[in-house]
Symmetry: C2
Subunit: 413 residues, 2 copies
Amino acid sequence: MPVEEVTMGTEFLKIKEVGEAKKIIKDLFNEYSPEQEKINIENSYGRVISEDIMSSIDLPLFDRSLMDGFAVKAKDTFGASDESPKKLKCIDSIEAGSYSAKTIEDGECIEISTGAPLPKGSNAIAMIEFSERQGDDVYILKSVAPNQDLALKGSDINKNKLLLEKNTFLSPDKIGVLAAQGIKELNVFKKPKIAVISTGNELVREDEELDYGKIYDTNTHSIRNATIACGADAIAKGIVKDNYLELKLRIEESLKDSDILICSGGTSAGVGDILRHVMDEMGEVIIHGVSVKPGKPTIVGLIDEKIIIGLPGNPVSALIIFYVFIAPNIRKLSGLKEVETSKIVKAKISKRIHSPKGRMEYALVQIKDDLAIPILKDSGAIASLAHADGYVKIPKTTELLDEGEEVKVALFR
Amino acid sequence: MPVEEVTMGTEFLKIKEVGEAKKIIKDLFNEYSPEQEKINIENSYGRVISEDIMSSIDLPLFDRSLMDGFAVKAKDTFGASDESPKKLKCIDSIEAGSYSAKTIEDGECIEISTGAPLPKGSNAIAMIEFSERQGDDVYILKSVAPNQDLALKGSDINKNKLLLEKNTFLSPDKIGVLAAQGIKELNVFKKPKIAVISTGNELVREDEELDYGKIYDTNTHSIRNATIACGADAIAKGIVKDNYLELKLRIEESLKDSDILICSGGTSAGVGDILRHVMDEMGEVIIHGVSVKPGKPTIVGLIDEKIIIGLPGNPVSALIIFYVFIAPNIRKLSGLKEVETSKIVKAKISKRIHSPKGRMEYALVQIKDDLAIPILKDSGAIASLAHADGYVKIPKTTELLDEGEEVKVALFR
């Protein structure tokens, strides 16, 4: 029977259930306090604000016309109609960006453009479409109410109110909100620095010779970019052979400029559990083995209070374990709210999936219309990712998902 | 009654219906042939591949063990059980990344790690969990079938097969697919170059004095970033006053290094229709006015065969018009498939929305759980974007959306 304990390390650690592992990892990440940095609004797209931002001015900053027309005293227009227009005298004209120093007296009006400030003495806009001008005489053809077609000072937002909450992701519209307030600089969360190492004697870089028995290193590319997608600053630290000393030195060096280290490979018994041994010596192993398919040989621990993650070497397993256990925590460390951490769509399973009982399984699927089509290859099939849009979770008590069953698909992008 | 024709330009143009305007704009964008460029895999995240990519090697490149265990002749294990194990002689050992030059004869086996190439003479893997080793003697405790726990050469993908289709967005998983093939460089769509200009006498930059009647320029920031979010290279060309010559010169200059120009403001009658006049002289106006709320004074035309877009000056209107009419086309020009152009979620309207009959309306909403909460401010209320997650479309024949009605919300991010 399959081993349910990993005993290769210096310490005995029980295989963790998925929920238990998730909680441990979450708690470890919660020990980090994200740093902040000041940036210019021009470089703010995709960043996450690190403190509540208050409005610094009223918006609008003045009573503003919402229409092209005439600024009037509303009472002067009462009773106006096509048949019995009200005649007013036009004493000035205001384009957006300028203003009139004049004050409207009874029977007067001022021509005004959309966006221009309301002149003194007036309290409404008569739309140009319901008026006729002859020289300085303006005939108002429709009665207007006080405040009609005006945006009053502060009606959008008042000064010193909460404008954007801490943890807001700066999308184009939210940046617009900042710009309207004239905000030049703002504090955002610093991107966590994450080092990515691939381990394995079988791995070569894309510019190296592919000798018999070797494979190209995939995880440096996929895990590095998945880390970037979570809002982190990911630094590729290259390939390390399954060699205790080499891995130890590379980890030491990598931790100098990183907050977190993500390794892949070197975690299963067959390669001598190199990562486990190094972590046992340099720090502490907290998780070694999770009851999950794929990805059982996952390792989590600490070195110098920095989180070290050991993903499986297999690229599909590594990516799934990353998305399920690690990505939500990195997104949170990047400042994103938890609610924004998953991109989930609902779909119906297109055909039955069998799953091993007693282990949580994550199965690759392709989305087509509202169908989730299972990709039934062994978990080592890297090219299967070419068709995969995401994965579905199959609980450990479930032995099959039936055709037509609704599932939640976590998307890769 | 409101004008349904725009007659300020030199040419008479009827207000377009939404569907008609969308089609015209789509056809204009279809005249562009997106260019491509070669990039390194390290810089490929978020790009879109511009040609089908074929596999250059079989994956796996050799019959590969999926388990730690022993490479065996399957027939040598037939009938094996805990009670009656089959004894084999172990003649070598293969770690991942290396190989054995030996050939297995009857009654022999070779110890093998996950990922290592299958040695000659063997045709299956006996898992380490179902075997016992004593020196060179290995006792197999369970019968294995031919090909068991093997990934056969090419079983993931064969050489010269379609690996990734043209127009594939390079997410971390897809980059992994490329990396597994050892692909160093690839062709992607060049990012379209889009110039962004804000026009209006009332606009000032965030580092300028905010005199009475002025407002901060919002659109440079929001539209530039919305354009970047569509996969384009957006270049802010600053603020231009409502001045015919100044706008003409800025447009001429901007078109030197851009494929498309997006202006905002300067499109409504009140500011003298500056953009319309410049476009009439320099090129051709194709749309002036769309029957939509907000955003009626939208302009579309061509100068030197380059598309010029005139968005309304109001930031909320500008952004909505951008998302509805322009964004899908820029995304397509950036190489993205049409199916990927919208981020739509379904939600229930939390309270009734009234809408003007005869015009398509786009109304801002906030998403909370599965509710779409209408943001009932005038369309000039910029700070309302702080709470908005997206917008819902209300067809022109619909006068109200009732509470609880299911709607599709197009998300801003």
